[in-house]
């Protein structure tokens, strides 16, 4: 009885599926393959820069325990100083600008979603993995976009979800590329891009019927040429690029990131990733009684200011993709290490007055010893403001911004 109902339901579904008349005359394997090629070239960059971000966090990476699912660990370098600015800017920036390409690619293959399931077990299984591919990329896009806009409506750990989701997507992506690469190459060769770019609307005709069933058997007349569709998607990419790049620029151009939180800064200031008020630190804790705990010694702010000062132009780059370059001055971390009696440290742990998940940041030996690695007291010629970490903050070349600890309470240099 149940089987009978199931068969009927399936037949109804199948006939309903067949009743959808796909109208677009430009949908077809060539167009799909163009979108596919763009994603094939760009998504590996998003994937690798994302996985590099995990490495950049060093032993402070979240999620901490990922088994073997990570790039080979290496000490994140301090040079070039813009390294993290570049990798994370690319990860977030490319991730945003590829959204129209992903949506166009999904549009181009959507008739397949409504085709009857194959009876062949292998094909059925391959189709099932598309859940990992499409679900994976949409999950990464949604969680990533919400994170850079500080909207934690999903209520779970962004880091863990985005990291695990990335590997789910990678699984689907690698298999999809392996299975579809020959089809993509064949389809791209079936038409000349140069000819398509010269074909106006009036001369636009559907691609020949394909075995994948993307080409509509009974389409509407065209309202857009193939080059028009490519220009439309390219225009979407350009629009989003124009609305994103500003969050990595200083000066008036930052404002071009019109709709992103990091397109805005208070007048005369540069962005922070946490305000003093939000840190929950009592003003007394960073007032006149504050001193830096180096283990063997404690230094007041006046004592720190009396030590040799060094100035460096260094970027702060955040995991959310925004970055800014400023002129910092303060005491070299390696000088502090020598004062603490550990002139050749194996690493360091910086502790903030603030409590919370990023209140402790690990530094490697290379990060402590870089001549531009500072415990900064001043920025752009003035004392740090409370929002920028007064009385003292860490600034290390190429270190993720959140590990450039503000409101430093203690630095422990390990032997």
């Amino acid at each position: 009885m149940v089987t009978e109902q199931l068969t009927q339901a399936r037949a109804a579904l199948a006939s309903a599926g067949m009743r959808i008349r796909w109208r677009s005359p430009i949908r077809g394997p060539w167009l799909t393959s163009v979108f596919g090629l763009v994603l094939l070239c760009a998504l590996p960059v998003v994937i690798v820069t994302g996985l590099l971000d995990w490495v950049a966090y060093g032993s402070g990476a979240i999620p901490a325990d990922v088994g073997a699912l990570h790039l080979p660990r290496f000490d994140w370098p301090t040079r070039p100083a813009w390294l993290f600015r570049l990798t994370q800017g690319l990860h977030v920036g490319l991730g945003i600008v590829l959204v129209p390409v992903v949506l166009a690619k999904l549009w181009s293959v959507i008739p397949k979603l409504f085709t009857k399931p194959d009876r062949n077990l292998l094909k059925l299984a391959e189709r099932g993995t598309l859940v990992l591919l499409v679900g994976g990329i949409l999950f990464e896009i949604v969680t990533g976009l919400l994170n850079i806009q500080y909207d934690y409506v999903f209520g779970f750990s962004f880091y863990a979800a985005h990291y695990a989701g990335a590997w789910v997507f990678i699984a689907g992506f690698v298999l999809h590329v392996a299975l579809k690469l020959p089809t993509m190459v064949r389809s791209l060769r079936s038409r000349s891009l140069r000819t398509e770019l010269r074909t106006p609307l009036a001369a636009t005709v559907p691609e020949p019927p394909d075995e994948g069933g993307l080409v509509a058997p009974d389409p509407d007349p065209p309202t857009m040429s193939r080059r028009g569709a490519l220009a439309l998607v390219g225009g979407g990419v350009a629009l989003l690029a124009g609305l994103t790049v500003g969050q990595t620029l200083d000066g008036p151009l930052r404002g071009t990131a019109l709709l992103l939180p990091r397109g805005r800064t208070a007048p005369g200031d540069f962005p922070v990733n946490r305000t003093f008020v939000a840190s929950g630190i009592s003003p007394d804790a960073v007032g006149a009684g504050w001193s830096l705990d180096l283990g063997a010694v404690r230094l007041t702010r006046d004592e720190l200011a009396a030590l040799p000062q060094h100035t460096a132009d260094l970027p702060i780059a955040c995991v959310e993709g925004w970055s800014t370059q400023q002129t910092w001055s303060g005491v070299r971390l390696r000088d502090l290490a020598a004062l603490a009696g550990v002139p050749e440290p194996a690493g360091a742990t910086v502790r903030s007055v603030e409590e919370g998940p990023f209140a402790r940041a690990p530094l490697t030996a290379g990060q402590v010893l870089d001549p531009d690695s500072l415990l900064a007291l001043r920025v752009n010629g003035s004392d740090l403001t409370p929002d920028h970490g007064y009385p003292a903050r860490v600034i290390v070349p190429a270190l993720p911004g959140v590990h450039c600890t503000k409101w430093v309470a203690a630095i422990g240099f390990s032997r």
């Binding site: 325990d65 979603l113 990992l132 976009l145 989701g165 709709l259």
Partner: protein, 144 residues
């Protein structure tokens, strides 16, 4: 050949399952497992069964536009897609969702984003309309 492909499918599923262990091995993440799965499936279903039908239906409505010598369809479609794309991506700022966190992170709120988005949509619409008028004028100049 099909044995190799089956191996590929199994490897893919195994890797995805392995990825899931990142969540499973951390007991503090266990309460998040169901919400994560819901968001994963939700993203997929919302795209396939809500977003796609919605924009496909909106596109059908464009077929009802009056026939003009220079067709209106793309001059409506393109700013509409631009508005939809930016709304989709920047929704949290536009509807001011998560404002306390934005404020804590940046010291600034979300108040300008709705107006900025509306201006952006207006600008895209105006440019599209202007291009249409130029095309109409050029066609009548050329065709008499």
């Amino acid at each position: 050949m099909s044995a190799v492909r089956m191996l590929g499918v199994l490897a893919c599923v195994a890797l995805a399952g392995w990825a899931a262990t990142i969540i499973v091995r951390d007991p503090t993440l266990h309460p998040s497992i169901v919400p994560m799965l819901v968001w994963f499936a939700g993203a997929l279903l919302l795209h396939d069964l809500v977003l796609f039908p919605l924009y496909a239906a909106a596109d059908r409505v464009l077929a009802l536009l009056p026939a003009t010598r220079v067709p209106l369809v793309n001059h409506v479609r393109i700013p509409l897609l631009g508005a939809g794309l930016t709304l989709l991506l920047y929704l949290p700022g536009i509807i001011r969702q998560g404002e306390p966190v934005v404020l804590g992170a940046s010291g600034l709120g979300q108040e300008p984003f709705l107006a900025r988005w509306l201006w952006l949509v207006l600008a895209m619409t105006a440019v599209s309309a202007l291009v249409w008028v130029v095309r109409v004028t050029r066609r009548s100049a050329a065709g008499g």
